[in-house]
Amino acid sequence: MMKTRTGLMLIAPLALVLAGFFLVPVLMLLPTSFGEYLPGSGMTPGVWTLENYTRIVTDDYYLEVIWRTLGLGLFVTLACLVLGYPLAYLIARGPQSWRVPLILLVVFPMMLNLVVRSFGWIALLTNRGLVNNLLIDLGLISTPLKLMFNLTGLMIGLTHIYLPFMVLMLVAAIQNVPRDVESAAATLGSSRIHVFTSVTLPLSAPGILAGSILVFVLTISALVTPRMLGGPTYKVMATVIYDEYMQLLDWPSGSALSFTLTFMAIAVIWLSSRLTKRWAGMA
């Protein structure tokens, strides 16, 4: 067993960097979020207010953006799970010789710049993009489908970007399910489907949860893709925060939104880790 002191020394370099360049700046924003902003003159020194926060939970626009962000996170997570699980299962349990090529294919998109990938989706999804042109040429539709500047566009883009994270987490989880335990269920009378639902799925649940948390948190805090595929009107929390800071120069309001987003992310992680513990307690 490693000594506590050795452990502390091993994490010390990273802890110091994070404390100095991440934690302190974030905490410096905390007072800002209680400051008062006057358009044209900036923050008033010495005046404190809760208004930045109360506005977030009362203003219809902010509430809509929050629910949209949460909904987007949920949908993208579910889409990644549904698309990713069969692939992860194939990688974990399929022919040995397929494993490396498949994992490379999964990881490959991550080697491309995020902006390039999002532009790629714009080229595909705009009103005169490849997808709509193809569907119109095939005579399947007469007017272009609205695939951008809405939930559909963001879901497509973000699912594509975060799918690799989900798949890699699931592969590890499925590989950890002992084959003997699955064989035991089979000899006890389980069909292949029942082996999957009664053994493989519950035993890979910790990986499902871990992958879901990761994708959810990444999605609700994503900025670049929502800015590009959401356009100027379809906003999520990250893009609203960006606008408050960079365009409206309303730092107090931007800070308050940032802390709200952080709080939401932490709440989700906390809830899920409680769930995981309950499941992992049995698994």
Binding site: A184, T187, L188, G189, P202, M282
Partner: protein, 360 residues
Amino acid sequence: MSALTFDRLGKAYGETDVVKDVSLTIGEGEFVSLLGPSGCGKTTILRMVAGLVEPSRGRILIGNDDVTSLPPNKRGLGLVFQSYALFPHLTVFENVAFGLRRRKVSGAELDKRVKEALAMVRLAAFGERYPRQLSGGQQQRVAIARALAPHPRVLLFDEPLSNLDAQLRDEMQIELKRLQRGLGITTLFVTHDQGEALSMSDRVGVMAKGVMQQFATPEDIYHRPATGFVASFIGKPNRLSGMIASRDGAGGTVKLGNSLVLPAAKLDQPAGARVDIVIRQEAIGLAAGEAGQGALPGTVALRSFSGARVQYVVKLADDVELVAEAPSSGPDAALPVGSPVALRLDPAAVFAMTPEGERA
């Protein structure tokens, strides 16, 4: 009536034959062990019986039913794994109930049969625990109860005791044998431990390199090994390289070193063949003092005490060394290194086998 039959069963992975045309018949209620070193194909046979590995050739019959192409869930067998393979997310009760629920047993009947099975392995009070809350021995007993609960036609064991420590293993051997006799359930037991196979089985199949070397009672396997491999694998053998000196009927003589010639009752190789000579430690008679008529003179080179027995490394002519045993409470229990001893060898305990790496 035969409970389990292999008909020229074979398995190849690519070019490699891991099981070569094994045929045998196991009777109703019989306890049969497959014994062999790792990689001999014994586990592959077990997994083919369970339906987890598809045979390349041959047939498997349970009773009179050909099950060769049935999936594992349609075979009605119980399988106990070396790794226990319990369902970690289910309680002990639910683990045992798993197979019964698949057979649509429910309600009071389910409750009764799970409790019966748990009582058989003396874990009646542990139903609400999770596997991780149990010791290794207890987990293995749950695995046995889980396999027994649905009343399988054949019970299969895949090295079930090798993860347990020595004392617990001995206890479990006796417990398992009692359970199997009590239920009269046909059992196929795979192990690399000769003690386990000899003590528990009605018949033992010794395997090497995918070939069934001998399928016989434990007594026959031990006293009348069919091949040099069986002789070298069972008991505590001395293994020395030598050659066949002469042949005479079924037996002849073998030569060790330059001049040491020993009679052997049963030999397969022709005179002049290079062989590995196998002589059981426990078949060598050892006495202190100079050798008389028909005995081999030697000196003690090393003594090691192992409880009930004492092992001596004895140096014979031409620096040939043999390990011999004496009871640790007898007169020959404390011979000092360098003292002269006389060895007597039973020709029936001297075997020859084709050396490793050459064609058997």
